[in-house]
Each structure stands twice: as C-alpha cells, then as structure tokens.
Amino acid sequence: MVEAATIAPPLGARSTLGIDTLVWGVGLALLALFGLLLAEMFAAGLPVLSLEFITGEASDAGRSGGISAVLVSTLWVVALAVGIALPLALGTALYISEYLGRGSTLYRLIHGSLDVLSAVPSVVFGLFGNAVFCELLGLGYSLAAGALTLVCMIVPVMVKASVDGLTAVPTELRAAGSALALSKPALIGHIVLPAALPGVASGVLLGVARALAETAALLFTSGYVLRMPDSPLDSGRTLSIHIYDLAMNVAGGDRFAYGSATVLVILLLMINGAIALVSSYAHRRTTDS
C-alpha cells in the first residue's frame, strides 16, 4: 500500500480510447468488406456451378450453356505462357544467382530492367503483343499470340521467386559441393537446383496466377472468340475476358459472369494453397537438418 502511493501519477493522463477505437474500426471494417465481397461473389456464383456449366458448350452469347471452350482456351494460354517462360526465367535466375556477384553492374542492370518491366501496364503489353506477335510474326489473333504476350509479363515474377529460392540455398551446401571437387554445372544440377526446387515451384505457381488473372493484355492478342479452339493458332477467350464480356457487353450476363468469376477465384485459391504448401514444406526441410 505504501509503495502504491509512491508511483507517479500518469503524465497528462490522456485517454487513447479514441485512437484505439479508430484502429479497431478501420481494421475490422476493411476485413469485413473483403469478406462480404467474396461472400457475395460465392453466393451469386456457386448456384451457377454444375457439371453442365463446366463441360457444356456456350450458347446465347454465354447467357446459357457452359464454359468448356473458355476453360480450354485458358488452359492453352496459361500452359503455353508458363511453359515458354519457365526455361527463360530459370536460366536468368541461375545466371543471376550462380554467375553474377550481387554488387556487379550487370546484376543491377538485369534486375532493374526486370523491375521496370513488371511495372509496365498490361494494356501496353497488349499493344506490344498485337504489333509483334499478331502482325509482325503473323500469328493473328490467337492463343499463341496471347501466350507469348503473357510470357513477357510473367518472366519478372518468375525470375524473382526463383532467385529468392536459389539464394536461400545454404552456402554450406555450396562449399561442401565445391570442396568435393564438383564442377560448377554438377554443383548446380545436383545440389543447388534440387535444394531450390520449392522456390522455383512457387515462382511457377505465381506465374500461373498472374497469367490466369490477366485480361487487358489478351483483349487484342488472343481475342475473344467464344468457340472451342482446335489449336493454339485459333483465337479464343480466357476466363477473365469471358467475365468482362458477360458483365459489360451481354445484357443479363451477370449471373454467368459471377459463375465464371467463382471458377476463376477458386482456381486462384487452389494456387494460393499450393504455394503455401510448397513454402511450408521448404521451411520444414530447412529447419529439420
């Protein structure tokens, strides 16, 4: 009791209740807003989902039927884009992490140019793709032209994730490999790449997610024909373009727009989950030993 009296009274006992309430209010309101938006989308979209919606053919400009052609076009574009971007991105990442010093001018040049590239607006990539792949290379409006355009957009994020994975490989492993007289290619192939695999895998998944989400760059490269493509040289419409077209250009297309958006977001959530799995696996593996 005696001690209690000697404790100094609070200096200018201002209440912080107001500030605390503000932070709580803003934080919870934001979280609730995003939660509600997602809930709204699922509420409108989930009832649309059915086997027929996934596998059926679209009719009446997409107001009825299914989205099989859209899914096949999306698969083509994403698979081609990631397939082409992977060797390019992995090669670049290996060069950066295994052959260039962090401080070198060349390192900063490559890094800076990829940084700037990732800031270029997607509609600009669309114009670039239209001029180069559709016209100059003569691919016309086609899934291949769309995929090549996407390659330019996803290379920076794939390089970044792969470089992160590669530089996280412990230096002890590299030193052990070198001390055992492994040549550099063998060191990379047998030790560094296997250890960096989780980083590379999440880079690939990030690339897939970027490619799935892209709309503007595809409007005038892969086009928006709502028909089952026979080959990657055909024009075709991806999921995100389908959503746009239904929402903007088709009266009464909202219901199916939400259905398609639900499919797209579920796909992205699955990729998100896969990335989380991969990185927790990598984390476990490095903390085990």
Binding site: A176, S178, L180, L182, I191
Partner: protein, 274 residues
C-alpha cells in the same frame, strides 16, 4: 629446422617434395576481401602425414588460411590472393589457369558445421564418386563401405544407407562429412573446427579418428580449443591479428610451442593471459 620461411630468402620456403609425398606449403601468402586484408605474408611448410593445428584468437585469419589451401576463396566474391600456395609441384594460384576441381580432389575439406546434402547417406557419398567417374556399382559400394568404416560409421548405419543424412545425430553427421571427404581419396585433409558444434563424446570419437587418419593423410586442422591441439597436434602454427590482418607468429613442433614458445605473445596466449 627452418619452420618459418627464412625472412632473408623467401624462395627457400618451399622445398622440393620428397618422393611419394604430396607436400603443401605457402610462401608470402596474402588474402584480401575487397579493401580489407585478412592475411598477410604467411609462409609455412606443412609436414606430411602429421596433424598440423592452426590456433589463434578469433579473427586472426585461421579459417581464411585454410580456404586458401583448396581455393575455396574462389566462392567469395571480391577475394584476392597473392603469394604462393604449392600443392605437390603445382602452384595453385599460379599464372597458368589451374583447375580448382583437380586440386580439390587432392585436398579434401571438413567444415565447422556438419553439412550433409539433403539426400540419403548413400547418395551423399555416391554423388562425388559418380561425378568423378566411378560408375561400377560394385566399386561404388566398396569405396563407400571402406570410407564409412574408416570413420567408424559403418556399423552404425550400414542397415539404413537409404535414410536421409539429416536424420543422423550431429556427431554422426560430422563423421559422414569426413567420410564424404575421404571417398575421393585425397592426400591432404583440411578441417575447419570440426568439433566446435559437437558434444564431448562425439568430439572424442573424432579426435581418435584424426589420430588414425594421420597415418595416411596430411591433416591441417583449425581449432579454437587449445586442449584439443595439445591432444592431437604434431605441429602447431599460431596466427595473430595485427590491426585486422592475420599473420603467422610462431610455428613449430607441438611440444616446443607448448613448452618453450619463443614469441612472447605465444606464451601469453597459451597461458590464457590474452
């Protein structure tokens, strides 16, 4: 005995090797990382088939010195070496492009922290062998078994060669790393504080192993532990840091260094005054 390179005539530091021995010596070796100099003018001749312990306070360049002996300095960007390191008759930092891969087959290394690859025990040992051309399954098996036996690990792991090396205990992992360095049959073995992360019992095992290995290998070991140097070393080199630059201040047979040091710093350091 000419332990320290004669100051008047540095050329004398590296003698011609005796027949059948791979000798190891350095002459006026300097190492710098960027603008920071880590080693200055180190000249010494390592005695073959013996244990040479490198001792000295932290930051005196002991580990840096070890990394110069198999060109592991190459891994650090901005490192520069001057002076000579001679392994056998080869000058490894010489002007003619010397292949570090060939060098590292002759000069094995064991690190402070056990660093097995994240593979099985078998693959840890098979990878370097395969890489250097041993394809025959029979021969692989034989060399892996003999390396594991040499480090006393065979009886402990022979029934689980396919389990991850990371599952072994710390001491076992370190012995696996020694075995991995031995499968390539080097003639020189560099050890960078191999026991500093281990418990006393594992340390004892490894020290016994080092004493056995010196019958066949030239061993250079960096150690913080003076008692350990007393137990295993035949020769001792003391490094000291002068304004951040590591220098060799005394080198000689272990009994001489421990009982009759000539440099005053050595005496003070060994007595624990510094």
């Amino acid at each position: 005995m000419g332990y320290l390179g004669d100051a008047m005539d540095q050329r004398q530091a590296c003698h011609e090797p005796a027949a059948g021995e791979i000798s190891l010596c350095t002459d006026q070796l300097c190492l710098s990382y960027g603008s920071k100099q880590a080693l200055e003018g180190v000249s010494l001749e390592i005695k073959p088939r013996a244990v040479t312990a490198i001792i000295g306070p932290s930051g005196s360049g002991k580990s840096s010195f070890l990394c110069c002996l198999n060109r592991l300095t190459d891994l650090t960007a901005g490192s520069a070496v001057s002076g000579q390191v001679k392994v056998g008759s080869t000058e490894i930092y010489g002007t003619q492009r010397h292949d570090p891969v060939q060098l590292r087959r002759q000069v094995g290394m064991v690190f402070q922290r056990a660093n097995p690859f994240p593979f099985s025990i078998w693959k840890n040992l098979a990878l370097p062998l395969r890489h250097h051309g041993v394809r025959d399954k029979q021969q692989l098996r034989q060399r892996i078994e003999s390396a594991l036996q040499r480090v006393g690990l065979w009886d402990e792991v022979s029934d689980r060669l396919n389990t991850p090396a990371g599952a072994l205990s710390g001491g076992q992992q370190q012995r696996l790393c020694i075995a991995r360095a031995l499968v390539l049959e080097p003639s020189i073995l560099l050890m960078d504080e191999p026991c500093s992360a281990l418990d006393p019992i594992s340390t004892q095992r490894i020290e016994r192993l080092i004493l056995e290995l010196k019958e066949r290998y030239t061993i250079v070991i960096v150690t913080h532990d003076l008692a350990q140097a007393r137990r295993i070393a035949d020769h001792v080199a003391l490094f000291w840091s002068f304004e951040g630059k590591g220098r060799l201040i005394e080198y000689g047979p272990a009994p001489q260094i421990f009982h009759h040091p000539t440099h005053e710093l050595t005496g003070a350091y060994l007595a624990g005054h510094i």
